[in-house]
Symmetry: D2
């Protein structure tokens, strides 16, 4: 005989429901949320515990919309091939596609945000800052020397032969066409703060050091904007995950209409096993 | 020696990119999409190939926002427990949570939409209707007798001892508080068409037949709205998948701040193995 | 204020552990399992609650080994592409690959087993038959007319224009080379019972009816063997899932040494977007 | 107009098939593998490119069998809750469960192997050592001072306030009952080489330094055995993934017979939202 285990308290602050109501982040879902906010605003609510104002809504929606779709990416190919084998489980096909959004393909958002926060900690990183007081950093703190910080970062990465997250792009050259638009929206909404400046300065320094054009790419811009909005760096990858889920549903619909998974399979198999034949 | 395989053509109409541009559904991503649309609109674009007008945007965003979050659901518990074991992979935790959005928990959207379309086929279901001509059904077709159709459906399900998808709720009684709000928004946006009426009529008939209150629940309302918007029934589950991805990122953030996964594990293990001790 | 919820009992019979011991299916893991059984036997233990005898071990291991690896299948391509994007999560890459083992690619094991059980129910399908009394069906029950059953099945499928699960193969013609070997092992181990005969008879009848060679394929043979072993039809897909997990780890190792994911991505993207260029 | 992309060669050495044959790692699947090897041997084949001898087979099977099942773990809870929501997709439930086998729950195998290899590199880590010449390290290389290496490692971890992977266990105290059995099997099969000794020495040193009993746990023992077998450290987590896939199929079968997912859901939700009520 053993003594019975004593439960420890667990607690969610996100929300709850009973017979007649559903409350999320202190708001009544039917009357205070439905019809008032869009899907991106709902994402902002999940990350901050409060609804965005008009400027925050515009900026945050642009950030996630940027990440929804980029054509025939690995995540799209994976979702399509999974759906072809298991059409009973659309959810499994989306899940499979999301599994690849890691350090290589979307993680540079996280990498950029972490790099920027560590180089320039402008706010107290309280463990429970998921509240209305999350705000863009102000210059009230002693003004950091952005050019100097950027030089140090670029040199450190070069010395360690590491790739700076959030700059350069294999296809989009000399600039990533999403970046100027995201910066423009940042100016319009007041999010063109110190982290955007630092991200840009790092790209400039790295370009100078390497002698190659290494402009800020979309994930670098979004990572910097995450810092402006005060998101935890470890959740920044989540913007890519929530956004791409939307895009993958579109690819599965397309696959159901114009299938390509079987042809991908057979042509890849033929190429990869040619030496055996 | 074998003859070399000849590739068959494959084709995506979703979009593509080159060095200086990204084109999605015929639109330039930076200049025509970013800053102009919200995340829900982007979902509508993925499902229809065109951007929504203001009423469509309002209705579609309300549909997906409804599905983002419902507190400590199985998908949230799964995502949190997965994150606790593999914090290096936020994407894997979201993927794990999405895998459970199947026939039981979200599939009733799909089940309701399929039931409604099959009972009342109001439009040509062309294989490639992903275009600007997707529109709400009109009464141009011979007017269906909604009450009669609903009676037939309710009786068939009862005879076969099957559960009608989209009605009743284990917690929300006597009504699901989300449904009246979704119906209200449908009236405001002009989506209160024949499929909503049929869904309501089926719930009324099933309630009469069973002698229990079986009101339209949120997934029934959303399934009917999917029909009004002309979505393929087999993609309707996708609205729940894209929406819940947003909510699960929020739960992972919450888990990183106030962890509960380990306590869930140990308390469940203790309860399930008590007879051994 | 609400009354506190009263927990209902939950119970696992699989096993439990305390400070000094781990007990699984009534056996002490270190002393009674480790070093005594192989991984396939452990799978048999999970499905039946008891360890296999020598013949069962040989047959069951051959069944799962058959399903481990088939070269560059969709599941392998998916696992490799997922790993390329998220090398921090080998587990996520395997999970992604497994998600595609559904009704199309592995489900025919399940489909075949379900078809065979329903056509010829030779044992009581008690809800809790996970016990030592699971045994191969005996002819003690009134002898079924296998040829007649097979004719009925083949005709029904033809009439409904449905594909008989477990027969025919797109690549392996005129026979699937795994099938004769699995049948041979079934004879050696005493598992060549009525379900194997019925599966073979169905293939013969379907071939006659269609005028094409439609031999029993590997999943048909394994589905029939699952029936001989008395497994629930709804778990038969699980043999493919546990087996392919082993193979996908091998593909991820291979991808880490000779990567092909990026080339697959770029070549597929180029082909699928050629019409845009 | 753009120049058409030129494909780069891709190549798998794992295997291929044609109309009448399936060849894996140079062996004919039906005649040379089926009926000759068990599922664990097949895993060894995937990781080394060759079949194990009798001792390797015994040791490797014990390693993976250790990881199949540990009762109501987070991965089992996740798989059961996922299956409850999406019973159409057994594969998705297993995939969800596997997603949590990361740095916290199974990664210590990987962490231990990496730590041991880096501290004591006994073989050339050639990129393509997946061949018959993979063998246990010999003392031909200059004999390392295991006690000294262990002291350095234990002190470094303590100085950095990091947890040594592969030692200690929250439940199994003072020793993990799987470890002595794995060490015993290592002696019987000749795998009790320098990496096992180093792992043990590290545990001893860490125990001395901390003043607590920190014995080698199962993942530490398996990590050390992976080194003895010459596996890449980055694939060691894969042993846990392939093994647990087997166990999760068993949990899903059990869930289908004695469901507990709904009770877990409701009881956790009630506890986590009590403060709202």
């Amino acid at each position: 005989m053993t003594t019975k285990r004593k439960d420890k308290p667990i607690r969610t602050d996100i929300g709850w429901s009973d017979a007649t109501s559903i409350t999320l982040f202190g708001k009544d879902l039917p009357s205070e949320i439905l019809g008032h906010v869009n899907l991106g605003d709902m994402g902002f609510l999940e990350l901050t515990g409060r609804l965005p104002n008009a400027k925050e809504s515009r900026m945050f929606n642009a950030m996630v919309v940027t990440l929804v779709e980029h054509g025939m990416t690995p995540s799209a190919i994976v979702a399509r091939m999974t759906y072809a084998g298991a059409p009973e489980s659309l959810q499994g096909a989306v899940a499979a596609g999301l599994n690849g959004l890691g350090t290589v393909f979307v993680g540079s958002i996280e990498g950029a945000a972490k790099m920027l926060y560590e180089a320039m900690p402008l706010r107290d990183d309280k463990p429970d800052n998921k509240a209305a007081d999350v705000k863009a950093p102000t210059s009230a703190t002693s003004k950091p020397n952005i050019k100097l910080i950027a030089q140090t970062i670029a040199q450190n990465f070069q010395t360690q032969a590491r790739i700076v997250p959030g700059i350069g792009h294999p296809i989009h050259k000399p600039i990533d066409p999403r970046t100027p638009r995201l910066f423009e929206l940042a100016r319009e909404t007041g999010f063109d703060g110190p982290y955007l400046k630092l991200m840009q300065a790092i790209a400039d320094e790295a370009s100078t050091l390497s002698g190659k054009a290494l402009p800020v790419n979309a994930t670098g811009a979004i990572g910097a904007l995450c810092c402006e909005m005060g998101f935890d760096w470890k959740i920044c990858r989540g913007l890519g995950v929530m956004a791409r889920a939307v895009g993958l549903v579109g690819h599965i619909l397309a696959e159901s209409r114009k299938p390509m998974a079987t042809e991908i399979w057979h042509s890849i198999e033929a190429r990869a096993t040619e030496h055996f034949r």
